[in-house]
Symmetry: D2
Subunit: 427 residues, 4 copies
C-alpha cells in the first residue's frame, strides 16, 4: 500500500503551483540567479519519518532559517542568562533588516532579526573560540539538527559577503554598544557563512521535527539541545519568526515558523511534526509566496494551529462505578489515555464528588498509556488523602505507568495487575 500522505502533499503542492507572483531576493546576485520555479514540501514526524512532494532534495542556502537553530545552540552552549542579557525576546514589528536595538542598551529586540541573529552567532560555542572554530561549531550544530553533515555554498557566501553592507553596519553598531565584543567584520563573516549552509527541504523538515521532538533529532536520536531551550526557541519563533507579518501568521497559520530569503520556510508543531517548504519567489515581507500559501493550507486542513483545541483532549475518566456491595464493595475509577494536569483534575473531581462511601477505592490505569509529572503527583496526593480519610487504595497498573508509587506522608497504596485481583484477592 502507498501512503496517503505523499499524495496529500502532492495535491497541496499542485494547488499552489500556478502562483508565480513574488520576486527572487534581488540583493544577492547568486540568489537572484536561482531557479524560481522550484517547489517542494516535506513533513517529518517526531519519529523521523519524512514525507515529501516536489523538489525536496534540491539544496539551497538556509539563510535566516538558521536563526532559530543557532539561537538554540547559543542557549545550549552559554545558558539562558548570558544570551538573554545580549538579545531580547520582544517582537519588533519591523522588517528583518531593521536595526531594532533597544534605545538604552543597544540590545537587539529579538534573535530573529538580523541584529539579534548576528549577536547570537557570536554567542555560540565557548567564548574563546576563534571565528573559524565558531563557524565550525555552528555548522556542526546545524548538521546535528539535520541529522547529516551539511556543507557551505562558497559562491553564495562570497556573493553575500560582498553585499553585506547592512549587516556590517548592524554589527559595528552592536560593537559600539558592546553587545558584540568580537571583531564586527569577523562576526558578520561568520554569520554569512552560517547563512550559506546548504540544506534541502527534507533537511529542513527534519530540523523542524527536531524542535517539535523536544530537541531530539528523530533520525539520529541525538539530543541536539535541551528541552527548555526548545520551548524558548519555539515561543520566539511564534511571535517573531515572520518579521513584520508575525501577527498575521500567528493568527492565520498559528505554527512557530521561520522563513529564509532563498525560499525556504519551516514550521514546528510541538510534539507533532516538522514541516518545510521551498519556493524561491518572495513577498514584500521577504517570505516565500507559495510557502506561505502551503502553510496556510496545511494549517487549515490539518488543524495544526497551536491555539486549536485538540480534539484529543478529553474523557480521562472512562468510568466511575461500584463493584460488589456491602462492606466489600469497591469504588472503581477507570482512567484512560494520556493524563496531564487537566486530566488529573478530572480524576480529583470524580474522587471528591463521589466522596466514596466504599471502604476500598481502585484507580484503574489499565487504559492509561502516559501520565505527566504534575498529573502523577496529583494522583498520588489523591491516594494519600483517600488513605487519610480511611480508605484502602489500589492502583491497577499492569504496565507500570506509575512505577514505585509513593503517596507520601500517611499515604498507602497497593499496586495490582487487574481489578479482578482486588475483587478476589489471591490467597
Amino acid at each position: 500500500m502507498r501512503s496517503v500522505i505523499p499524495d496529500y502533499l502532492a495535491e497541496v503542492l499542485e494547488s499552489v503551483e500556478s502562483d508565480t507572483s513574488g520576486e527572487l531576493a534581488g540583493y544577492i546576485p547568486e540568489l537572484a540567479a536561482a531557479d524560481p520555479d522550484r517547489l517542494g514540501v516535506a513533513f517529518a514526524t517526531v519519529e523521523g519519518v519524512v514525507y515529501g512532494a516536489g523538489d525536496i532534495d534540491i539544496e539551497f542556502t538556509i539563510q535566516s532559517i538558521s536563526k532559530p537553530f543557532v539561537y538554540a545552540l547559543a542557549l545550549a552552549d552559554r545558558g539562558f542568562d548570558p544570551v538573554l542579557a545580549k538579545v531580547g525576546v520582544e517582537p519588533s514589528g519591523e522588517a528583518f533588516n531593521e536595526i531594532s536595538l533597544e534605545s538604552d542598551t543597544g540590545r537587539p529586540r529579538n534573535p530573529m532579526i538580523n541584529a539579534g541573529a548576528i549577536t547570537v552567532h557570536s554567542l555560540t560555542g565557548a567564548e574563546d573560540l576563534n571565528p573559524t572554530e565558531r563557524v565550525e561549531r555552528v555548522v556542526h550544530g546545524l548538521s546535528a539538527f539535520a541529522g547529516r553533515r551539511l556543507e557551505m555554498d562558497e559562491r553564495v557566501c562570497a556573493s553575500e559577503m560582498g553585499n553585506a553592507h547592512r549587516n556590517l553596519a548592524i554589527a559595528h553598531m552592536l560593537r559600539s554598544h558592546n553587545v558584540l565584543t568580537d571583531d564586527a567584520r569577523a562576526v558578520v563573516d561568520g554569520y554569512t557563512r552560517q547563512c550559506s549552509v546548504l540544506v534541502s527541504t527534507r533537511d529542513l523538515a527534519v530540523m523542524a521535527a527536531t524542535l517539535a521532538n523536544r530537541g531530539m533529532n528523530p533520525l539520529s536520536g541525538e539530543q541536539v539541545v535541551p528541552e527548555p531551550v526548545v520551548r524558548q526557541v519555539l515561543s520566539v519563533m511564534f511571535s517573531c519568526g515572520m518579521y513584520d507579518a508575525a501577527g498575521d501568521w500567528a493568527t492565520q497559520v498559528g505554527i512557530p515558523a521561520k522563513s529564509g530569503v532563498a525560499g525556504g520556510l519551516i514550521g514546528a508543531l510541538p510534539g507533532q511534526i516538522g514541516i518545510a517548504s521551498f519556493s524561491p519567489r518572495l513577498d514584500t515581507h521577504g517570505n516565500s509566496v507559495r510557502g506561505v500559501s502551503l502553510f496556510e493550507r496545511l494549517s487549515a486542513d490539518m488543524g495544526l494551529h497551536v491555539m486549536e483545541v485538540p480534539a484529543t483532549a478529553r474523557a480521562v475518566v472512562r468510568s466511575n462505578r461500584v463493584v460488589g456491595s456491602g462492606p466489600n464493595a469497591l469504588r472503581v475509577l477507570e482512567l484512560q489515555g494520556g493524563i496531564g494536569f487537566a486530566g488529573a483534575e478530572r480524576v480529583v473531581r470524580e474522587a471528591v464528588a463521589t466522596s466514596p462511601p466504599e471502604n476500598r477505592v481502585v484507580l484503574d490505569l489499565t487504559r492509561v498509556y502516559s501520565i505527566d509529572d504534575v498529573a502523577r503527583r496529583v494522583l498520588l496526593e489523591i491516594v494519600r488523602r483517600l488513605t487519610l480519610d480511611g480508605h484502602e487504595v489500589y492502583l491497577v497498573d499492569p504496565e507500570s505507568i506509575v512505577p514505585d508509587p509513593d503517596p507520601g506522608d500517611g499515604g498507602r497504596v497497593t499496586v495490582v495487575g487487574s481489578v479482578e485481583q482486588v475483587i478476589t484477592p489471591p490467597h
Copy 2:
C-alpha cells in the same frame, strides 16, 4: 475527601503573598484608592469547575481584560474582514497607551493596545446601534462570558472619564483617519464603561475558561462566540496581550493572557483551563506584580506552556500483530488514545511498513476515545487503499468513534464490535 487543587492554589498564593512591590494605578483616583493587599487566584476547567484561593469573590473593574473578550464579540458580530480592516494583529512592542497606529492607514496595530480596543468597542453589535445600545451589547456579551449578569462601577467609570484625556486623544486621532466613524467622545465614553464592568477573580476564571473551551461557557453551556473567533483571540493574546513585556511572557509563561490595570490577570490554555488572579499592585509595564509571579509559578509547576510538548502525545499504535495463521490470518493494528494528525500518520506508517501479506486487516479502535477530523479522513483513506490492494478491512469500533465510516471510491469496510467477531465471525 478535600480536593488537592485548592490546597495547591493556597500554597502558591502564600508563596507570593509577601511581595508588596509595585504600585497601584495612580492615574485614576478611584483605582488608587483600592486595597493593595487583596490577593486571589482561581482555576476554571473547561467543564466549569472553579477552584480558588484567597479573595476570589471580591469585585473589581475589568479594565483592559475586557479587550480580548470584546474583540471576540466584535469578530462574532461583524465578521473577520470588517474588524481586520480596522485593527491589525501585529505586536507593537509598545506600552498600552501608545498610539501605535500604522503610519499610512491609521489602523491601530492590534486590539490589545488602547487604540485598538477603542476601535473594537465601536465595532461591536450592529453598525446602527446608538452608544447606549452598544454599551449594553458589550456588557451583555461580557456577562455571557462570565455566566452571570455583570454590573458597572459608576464611580470608577466617572473617575476614569474625567481623566480620559489620552484615550480621547487616541479616539480623535482614529476619527481623523476614519478608523472611527462614530463620535470620538461617545466611543471613549462607551469604552470607559466597558472597562468599568465589575468582575470577581472567579468570574475572570470562567471567562478565560470560556476561551479555553472553544467559546462555550462551561457553566451555562452557551456558545458565546464561534470557535474560529476564539482561535484568533487567543493568538492575539499570546503575542500582544502583555504589551511591551509580551515576549518575556510568551517565553517564560507561554499562556495567552491579558492583564488589567485594576490588578486582574487572566490566562487561557486551549482545551484545558482558564486561570485568573487578582492583586492590585502593578509593575512598570502595568501588569500585576504578584499576578505575574503566580502565573510563572503555575506555568512552571503544571507544564502549561503552549510550546510544551504534552507528555500525553504518544503511542497511538498500541500493538501490530498477527492473529491466527494461514489464509485466515488477521493483521491487527490496535490503536489507542486520542488520535490527531500525528497519530494517524503513525497508523499509516505501520500499515505501509508492514505491507500486510495477510488478506484480512483489522483496525482495532476499542482503546481509542477520540479522533479528530483529519485523522478520521486519513484512516478511511487507509481503509480504501487497503481495499484497493485486495485486502478485506475491518474496523473494531464498539463505541462508534467513527460513525458511518465511508472509505470512498472503491473502499469497503466492515464494522464490528470486537476482534473476536472477526476471528470467529458469527454464523
Copy 3:
C-alpha cells in the same frame, strides 16, 4: 514718476503666474472651494510703505501664519519662561500636523507645529481669561500687527471645527501631559477661530513688517510686542517656519517665514522689510507653490538672505590723517556710516596701530549717522585710554550722535562741531 518697485513686483508675479501645479487644501471644505488662481505679492517697508502687485486686497483666512504672531503675543503676555516651559524651540523635521511632543514631558517641539500653536493659543492673555476673552485677545493682537481691526470668517471656522479631529487628538494628548490645563475642546475651538481670521496680502505684509521693524507697527506706530520677543519669533520662524522643508528654505531663501494652508506666505527680514504672497495651490509640504517660487526669486534678486553679507558693511574709517605739524599737529580719524561692533573694532585698530605720536587726537563723527550701544561704549573706552596715555581727545559730533559722552574713570573729551574748531580754537 511711478515707482519702479510695483513694476518689479508685477514682473516677478508674471514669471510665476503660469505655474498651476499643486492642490488646494483638501481637508477643509471651505478652503477647497477657494479660487485657485488668485495671486498677489506685497512688500511693506519698516517705514510703513506698502508696494504690491496682483490680488493684494482679497481676504483669506490667516491659518498657520497666525502662529508666529500669536507666539509673539504669548511671549509678551506671559514672559519667556512660562511659554518656554510649555513649548520648545527645536525644529522637528516633521509635517505640520505631526504630534511631535517630547517623549518625556509631552512638550511640543516648537510653536510652529500644530501641537505647539494650540498650546501657545492657551498661553495668550491672562491665565484667567475665559475662551471667548482669549480669542478676543488674540484677534486684538493680530489686528495690532496688521494695523486695522481684523474679522473672522465664521464659515471657514465652522467648516474647520467640524474637521478638527486631529487637532482635538493633539489637544487631548497635550491635556493628558498637563501641557494644556484648559479644556481641550475649548482650546481647539479658540485656536480654530484664531486660524479663521481674515487677512489680505497687504495686511500680511504689514504684519511681517512689524516683525521686521522690531515689533513696532510701521503704520500705526504701536509697539505691538517688545523687541526681544521679535528676535525669538524670527529665530523660530527661521528654523521651524516651513515645517519639514525648513532646511531647504533656510538655505535657498534664507528669510524667516511662515506659510498658511489658505495660500498665504510671509517673510520678515529684520530691519528691512516684510513680504507677503497669496496663491492657494499648495505643495506636498503644505506651502503655497507659487508663493515659494516668488520668495526664491525675490531673495535671489534682492540679496535678502539673512546669511548674505550686506554690501553696506564697510569702510567705517574714512580717513586717518595728520593735520598741521609740530606740537600742534592733530591726529584726525574721520569715521562714516552706521557703526556697530565691527566698525568700532576698526576704529580701535586704527587708533592702536597708529599709536599716535601727536598730542591731540580727533574722532570726527560728522559723517556718522548712527552708532549702536556696544560701538558707543568701545568708542568712549578709546577716548578714556587715549586720555590716560596723555592725549587730548576731541569728538567732532555736529549732530550729537553720541550725546553727553562720558569716557569714564580718568577719561576726558571735548565735543566740538567741526575739525576746524580744533585747528583754530575760538579765542
Copy 4:
C-alpha cells in the same frame, strides 16, 4: 594705547572660568586625557585682525568643527547638486551620532550629523581620488581656511579609529544605500583623519572669519570657497550646527556655529566677525559648557544675533531740498551710508513723493560709501524714469560709487563731482 577688545575678552573669560561643570569626551581615550581647565576665546575680524584671551595658541583636534568647512569644500569641489543629492539640509533634532537617514533614500538629514559629515568627506576633491589623496585635499582645504598649514594628531587619530564602531556602522549603512560608493572603512578612516587635524583657538577664529568674510581668508586673501557656498554653509550651521540644542542656540545666541568634542566652538557672523572658544568640558549635548556660556555672553553684550536689527540700517536719505529758485531750481536728494535694497526703496519713495516740479534733479552720493547691486539698479531706474518724465538728472559721485552709470533705454544722466558743479556749471 592698548586695545580695549582683549581686555573685554579677558573679562568675559574670567566670568565663566569658575564653571567646572561638564565632562571630557569619554569615549576616546586620548580626548579623555586632555587638560580640562584650558580656556581661551578669540575674535577674528573680516580684515584679519585676531584678538584673544586665554589659551588661544594651544592646539587641539578640530573634530566636528571640521564639518562645516569640509561641507564647504565638497560644495566647492563638486557643485551643489551632487552634494545635495547625497546629503540633506534639514535639521534632525537628534544627537550627533544618531544615524538620521531619510527612510526611503538613506540620505543623511544634514551635513552636521556624523552620517552627513562622513558622506561629505567622500565628496571632497575629484571623484577618482584615492583615500590618501582625499585626506590631503581636506587637510589642504582646512589649512586654507586657517591660513597656515595644519597638521594631524596621529595619536588621537589612532585612538579614535580604534573606537570608531559607530561611525563604521553609519558608513556601512550609507554604503548599503549607495549614498557612499567608496569602501566604508576607508571613508571612516579618512573622516577620522579629518577630525584629527590640530587647530588652535586662533586658527578657528580665522577659519570662522573666512566664512564671515564671504569665503575669503582675511589673512591670506585667498578665496577658499565661493560666496554662494558660504551662504549655504552658514544657513546649515544656523539650523543644524548645535545638534539637538540647535533651537535653543538659534534663539538665545543666534550665531551660525559649530562645536567639536575636543572642546572647540566657533561662530561666524556674516560680514562681521569669526569667534572661537576652547574649553574641553562638555554638556550632555556634546557642546563645550564654558564655550556656550561665552557665546551667550558675547551675543548679548554685542548684539551679534542674526535676527537683531542692526542699529545701522537707517537714514539713507540725508536730505531732500531745493537749491535755488525759478527755472534753475535744483531738487537735491542727498544720500548717505551704505545702500541696499531697503535704502534704495527710500530713495525711490522720496523721488516719487516729491514728484519734483523742478526741472533738474540731483542725486548726491558724496556721503554714500557703498551700494549693492540691486540698489544700484533701482537707482539707475529712477534716473531713467526721471529722464522720461522730462527731468535732467545729475549724479554727484566724487568717489565713483556708481561707475559708468547706464540708466538704460531713454535714460540719461550727467555725473559730476559736487553739487556746486551743477549749480554753477563750469563754462
